[in-house]
Symmetry: C2
Subunit: 330 residues, 2 copies
DNA sequence: GACCTCCCGGAAAGCGGTTTCCAAGTCTGC
DNA sequence: GCAGACTTGGAAACCGCTTTCCGGGAGGTC
């Protein structure tokens, strides 16, 4: 590959001068030399070696984002928000997907640390397992000790900047809205018990029902994805309203009902959580809690880059959106 | 940050020995020294500086993927396929999104070149503009001249390894299947004329109709996304069957019809292209052409990494999937 | 015109690793 | 017991770039 030295030689100047011309510096370079260097670089097709720059400057211009699954539109939206924010700062993005394996998440933090990325963003729910979370914390702390910056979208469990959606509150508000429509018998497709996001939404929902004096919902655990919702829906017994703790599960539930000839919302009402954009044309339109996913991603990056002391943006509000998948009870 | 020198000092060995123990080498290191080094590294929380390694080794372990829009499930699936393939090779991934700006694509290739990534993957349709494509070619050639590797998912227009879906053939087969159902009056929601993927699908469809002796379809251009499909559907006149050149446009069209009280498939049949997984629960279920997106992404990465001479995998076959959004004509 | 700044070009010292080359052991085989 | 072949540890060159430090010349002041 073409190096700076090649360019300097071709232009008949020193390395220092070539560097100052091509890669930004506070120092001025005279017009004639500057032109010669630029021409040489162009002729040779020079591209600065960023690994070398990073090493010399002691700072890189890339950030790392770790998500669970890029094909899940929830993560895609969050990641997209963060990537747009990164682009405006002139930063590049390395993306890692854990496929929901917490060990992978830890491994990625180590790898991104080794890459000396400017910041790492952990996107997605924490798990309840204290030991795993502890190891992740350690890995992050080690990275931060070396000057790294980190933020998380999810729960404030890592001791880093955090953007935390109001999962409990959003679910509670949804519960109240559904109760308002006259529902009293609920089921919750609750996802995996160890996933904090899922657990929070389930708990917020249940608690709100309790405060309203309504009976506790039937809680059905299962995977956090479309098929999990599909399977869990089969086990619902006697509820008039089903809350799936995220939208893709709700879509799975709707599919299960459709196949069995159960009409939504006539026979049963269904609600989800997140308000995934890709699902906006779903039939019936899904009642859900809208989260500003892109903003949250962007905000988290901002925090990671700018805050010295860990800042926690608690309870990013969701907005209940009532659509045709729920009906008013007679 | 902790450096290798710190570790070596702490362990009382030379830099060379520490390097050999920690960062893999053909050379053996005695058991006792090895243990001392490992203990020191662990105590200090050492993480190799990959920028330095990349510089010293002259080879990096990251690849770059450039997509148009991560929140579009089409790209998410392709990227996910490539990322899984990368992970099995122990490679890290940098992702760039162009937001459909071809200039951005060129800029990303330059940036990834500067990063000295092992390979770059360009995912998504080429544009018809010769000048833009030419500049992208130049940028890629320059990168490859320096030992970089590149591949593309889309059309074979860049002189690099390419995985090209059989857009024309898939659309043609779809046209024949729809004609088989008795349709004769077609419209095509054709997307932007300059997008090669869109144009190919439209052309393949039209040509097949022509070969069947059927009248040419009404062709309506517009954006390549959901809203483009929505808007284009409004302009359809007198067709019994509408082909949207991708699934998200088809979903937009379905939404437009639903709002206007036009029944699908009773009043009009609708088909898309791609078979996006997220849409599998859409109502009515979308007739489409299934493309093996994840495989294509993985395959492209494989080509980039292993092939010396540009290899073109032409015409990755799509499979027509007939679902309820189309009906047989009486 | 002497003296001081200021400006700009270049030499060279890093940045944190890898790897080549040596030297000093340690094993073999006879 | 000793030459020759392997091992293994360390010194130092090098990867490509940034930046500090120097020095020479131009411009300004009295």
């Amino acid at each position: 590959m073409v190096t700076l030295e090649d360019v300097a030689k071709q232009a008949g100047v020193s390395l220092a001068t070539a560097s100052r011309v091509l890669n930004g510096s506070t120092r001025q370079v005279g017009a004639s030399l500057r032109a010669r260097v630029e021409r040489a670089a162009d002729e040779l097709g020079y591209r600065a070696n960023i690994a070398a720059q990073t090493l010399a400057r002691g700072a890189s211009n890339v950030i790392g984002i770790v998500v669970h699954d890029l094909t899940d539109p929830y993560f895609a939206a969050l990641a997209d928000g963060a990537m747009r924010a990164a682009a405006t700062e002139g930063l590049l993005v390395m993306v890692g997907t854990t496929h929901r394996d917490p060990e992978q998440e830890i491994a990625y933090v180590a790898t991104l640390h080794a890459q000396r990325v400017r910041a790492v963003l952990l996107v997605g729910s924490r798990v309840a397992d204290q030991r795993v979370t502890g190891r992740l914390r350690d890995e992050l702390a080690r990275y931060q000790a070396g000057g790294g910056r980190a933020a998380c979208v999810g729960q404030d469990l890592l001791g880093v900047d955090t953007v935390a959606p109001a999962n409990r509150e959003g679910a509670a508000e949804l519960a109240r809205a559904l109760a308002e429509l006259g529902h009293t018998k609920f089921a919750v497709l609750a996802g995996p018990p160890h996933l904090v996001t899922a657990a929070d939404r389930c708990a917020g929902f249940s608690q709100a029902l309790d405060e309203l004096g309504l009976p506790a919902p039937q809680v059905i655990h299962g995977p956090f994805d479309r098929d999990g919702g599909y399977a869990a829906a089969q086990q619902v017994k006697g509820a008039t309203c089903v809350f799936a703790v995220n939208d893709v599960m709700a879509v799975g539930a709707l599919a299960a009902y459709r196949e069995r000839g159960v009409r939504v919302p006539d026979d049963v009402s269904v609600a989800g959580f997140d308000d995934i954009v890709t699902l906006r044309d779903h039939v019936p339109a899904l009642t859900t809690v809208r989260l500003p996913l892109k903003d949250m991603g962007a905000r988290a990056l901002e925090l990671a880059l700018n805050e010295d002391e860990p800042v926690v943006v608690e309870k990013v509000a969701g907005e209940v959106v009532l659509r045709e998948s729920v009906r008013r009870m007679p």
